[in-house]
C-alpha cells in the first residue's frame, strides 16, 4: 500500500473504532450490565444454570419425590449427602418399604459438581437459586432437605 492510502486507511479505521465505542457510550444508560447488588436484592434473578445449593422441592401437600434409593449419596464424590432412612409399611400392599427419614446435605462440603442431580432417577433434588450462602455458624451449613412430616408423592415409583 502506498503512503497516502496508508494514512487514509488509518484515519478511516480509527474513526470506525471511535464510532463503535461512541455508540456504546451513548447507550450506556440503557445497556448497563452492572448489577448494583445489595440494592436490587429483591428483584435480582439468577440465571437458569446457576448452581447455588441443592434443594428438594416439595409440593403443596408437603410431598417430595425422593424414594431413598441413595444413588445420590453413592454418586457424591466427597460425602456431601447423607440419607438416614427407615423401613415403613406400605399401606396398599402391606409390604415393608424403604423411606427417607432425613436427607442431610452438607453445603460446606459440596463442590457443586451436580452428579447427585444428574443421577437422581425421580428428579427429587435440583439446583436452588439462592446465592447468599454465607452464615456466621458452621452448623447452619448442614441442612435437612426434606421438610418435617413430608412423605413420598404417590406414583413416583411406578
Amino acid at each position: 500500500m502506498g503512503y497516502f492510502s496508508n494514512i487514509y486507511h488509518a484515519i478511516r479505521t480509527l474513526l470506525t473504532g471511535m464510532s463503535v465505542t461512541g455508540k456504546y457510550f451513548l447507550n450506556s444508560r440503557k445497556g448497563t450490565i452492572t448489577q448494583q447488588y445489595p440494592d436490587n436484592r429483591a428483584t435480582l434473578k439468577m440465571f437458569d444454570r446457576f448452581r447455588g445449593e441443592v434443594i428438594m422441592p416439595h409440593d403443596e401437600n408437603n410431598e417430595h419425590a425422593c424414594t431413598g434409593c441413595q444413588k445420590c449419596e453413592i454418586a457424591c464424590p466427597n460425602g456431601t449427602i447423607e440419607i438416614i432412612w427407615d423401613r415403613g409399611i406400605d399401606e396398599d400392599t402391606g409390604k415393608k418399604k424403604k423411606k427417607i427419614d432425613k436427607f442431610v446435605y452438607h453445603l460446606s462440603l459440596c463442590t457443586m459438581c451436580g452428579l447427585c442431580i444428574d443421577v437422581c432417577p425421580t428428579d427429587a433434588i435440583e439446583w436452588g437459586q439462592n446465592f447468599e450462602n454465607s452464615v456466621y455458624d458452621r452448623t447452619k451449613l448442614t441442612r435437612v432437605l426434606n421438610e418435617p412430616g413430608s412423605k413420598l408423592r404417590a406414583g413416583v415409583e411406578d
Binding site: 465505542t21 461512541g22 457510550f25 450506556s28
Partner: protein, 354 residues
C-alpha cells in the same frame, strides 16, 4: 463586572497597603501559587473521577457512584487513603533521586498551568514567550519519569522510563511543530495575544485545512506526551507491571498519578487556547459577561479531555516500533509540509476572517 478580577484586585490593594512593596509582591506570588496548587490538586482528583466514570460508560458499566453524590467524593477518599499509606522503597535504590522524581513531574505540570489564560485578565503569568515556555516546561516532566525509573533499581521501571524517554523526545517535535503552524497564523507567542487574534474567528476556522491537520497532529502527539493509551507503553500494565512508578507507593505514587491527569488537562487547555479561542464564546454570544469566559474555557477543555478519554478506551496499545514509525515517517513529514502550506496561506491571505 469581572468578579474574579475584582476579588484579586482587592486582595492586591490590601496587601500593598499593609506591607512594603517587595514583601507584598512576594506574599502575592506565594498566595497565587498556593491557590493554583490547591485548585489543581482538587481538579486533578475530579479528572480522575471523570476518567473512571467515562471509562465505565464506555464499557457499559456504572463506575464509582457510592461515595458522595454520584461518587463525587470517591477520589478524595482515595487520596486520603494514599496519604495514610506507607512510603516503600527498594533496598539498593538511589534514595535521593528516587524521592526527587515525583516532585519533578508534579512541579513541571503545575508550572505550566501558570501561563494558561483562563479568562480575560485571569492569568497568573502572561509572558511574551508563552507557548515556548509551555513547550519547554512540559517536557521537564520526562526527566522526573526517567529519574524515577532509573532510581527505582527495578528492571520494569527502567524499561518503562526509557520507553517514556523515547516517546517524549519523538513526540515533543510534533507538538512543537504543530503549535508552530498555529503561531505562523497567530503571529505571536504570547498567549493573551493569541486569544486577541481569535476575536476574528477561532484559529481552527481561520486556518481551515492546515489548522485542522495541525490540530489532529497536536492531539495525537499530546496523547503520546501524557503517556496515555494508546501510547501508554511507559506504564503498560500487561508488560511492565506499572512501568516507571512500579516501586512508588502512597503519596509519591499519587503525585505521578495526579501529574498524568494535570498534564492531560494542560494538553487540552493548550489546544483550547491555540485552536479553539480560549475563553472566547462561540460567535461572541456572551461577550458582555466577561466572567463567563471561565465557563467557556473549561467547557472547551473538558470536551477535549473527553476526546482523549475516548481515544484511550477505543484504541489498542501500539508497539514501540509502530510508535516510532508513526512519529518519524508520518507525523513529522506531514507536519513539515503543513507548516509550508500554512506559511503560503498566511502569505497569500487565504485565511478565513469572520
Amino acid at each position: 463586572m469581572n468578579i474574579a478580577l475584582s476579588i484579586t484586585k482587592n486582595i492586591h490593594d490590601w496587601l500593598f497597603s499593609i506591607m512594603p512593596e517587595t514583601t507584598a509582591s512576594i506574599v502575592e506570588m506565594i498566595l497565587t501559587a498556593l491557590v493554583y496548587l490547591t485548585v489543581f490538586a482538587v481538579a486533578g482528583l475530579f479528572l480522575v473521577l471523570m476518567e473512571r466514570r467515562v471509562a465505565a460508560w464506555f464499557q457499559l458499566r456504572i463506575g464509582p457512584n457510592r461515595v458522595g453524590f454520584q461518587g463525587l467524593l470517591q477520589t478524595m477518599a482515595d487520596a486520603l487513603k494514599l496519604v495514610s499509606k506507607e512510603l516503600t522503597g527498594t533496598v539498593k535504590a538511589d534514595k535521593f533521586l528516587y524521592n526527587l522524581a515525583p516532585y519533578f513531574v508534579i512541579i513541571s505540570a503545575l508550572m505550566a498551568l501558570g501561563v494558561i489564560p483562563f479568562t480575560k485578565d485571569f492569568q497568573a503569568f502572561d509572558i511574551n514567550i508563552g507557548i515556548f515556555f509551555l513547550i519547554a516546561v512540559s517536557s521537564i516532566g520526562v526527566i522526573g519519569i526517567l529519574l524515577g525509573g532509573w532510581a527505582s533499581n527495578n528492571k520494569f521501571a527502567l524499561i518503562g522510563a526509557m520507553r517514556s524517554g523515547v516517546q517524549t523526545i519523538s513526540y515533543e517535535l510534533s507538538i512543537g511543530l504543530s503549535l508552530l503552524t498555529m503561531i505562523l497564523l497567530a503571529g505571536s507567542l504570547q498567549l493573551s495575544e493569541i486569544v486577541e487574534v481569535q476575536k476574528e474567528g477561532w484559529l481552527i476556522v481561520q486556518g481551515h485545512i492546515p489548522a485542522i491537520i495541525a490540530f489532529m497532529i497536536y492531539m495525537i502527539a499530546g496523547t503520546a506526551e501524557t503517556n496515555r493509551a494508546p501510547f501508554d507503553m511507559p506504564e503498560a500494565e500487561s508488560e511492565l507491571g506499572a512501568g516507571f512508578h512500579t516501586e512508588y507507593s502512597g503519596m509519591k505514587f499519587a503525585y505521578f498519578f495526579l501529574a498524568e491527569f494535570i498534564n492531560m488537562f494542560l494538553i487540552a487547555a493548550i489546544a483550547t487556547t491555540v485552536f479553539f479561542g480560549a475563553w472566547l464564546s462561540p460567535f461572541g454570544i456572551t461577550e458582555s459577561i466577561p466572567w463567563l469566559g471561565l465557563f467557556w474555557f473549561l467547557a472547551k477543555t473538558f470536551v477535549l479531555v473527553f476526546l482523549m478519554m475516548w481515544f484511550r478506551w477505543t484504541f489498542p496499545r501500539l508497539r514501540v516500533d509502530q510508535l516510532l514509525t508513526l512519529e518519524w515517517k508520518y507525523l513529522l513529514p506531514i507536519n513539515l509540509v503543513n507548516i509550508v502550506v500554512m506559511a503560503l496561506l498566511v502569505w497569500q491571505n487565504l485565511t478565513i476572517q469572520i
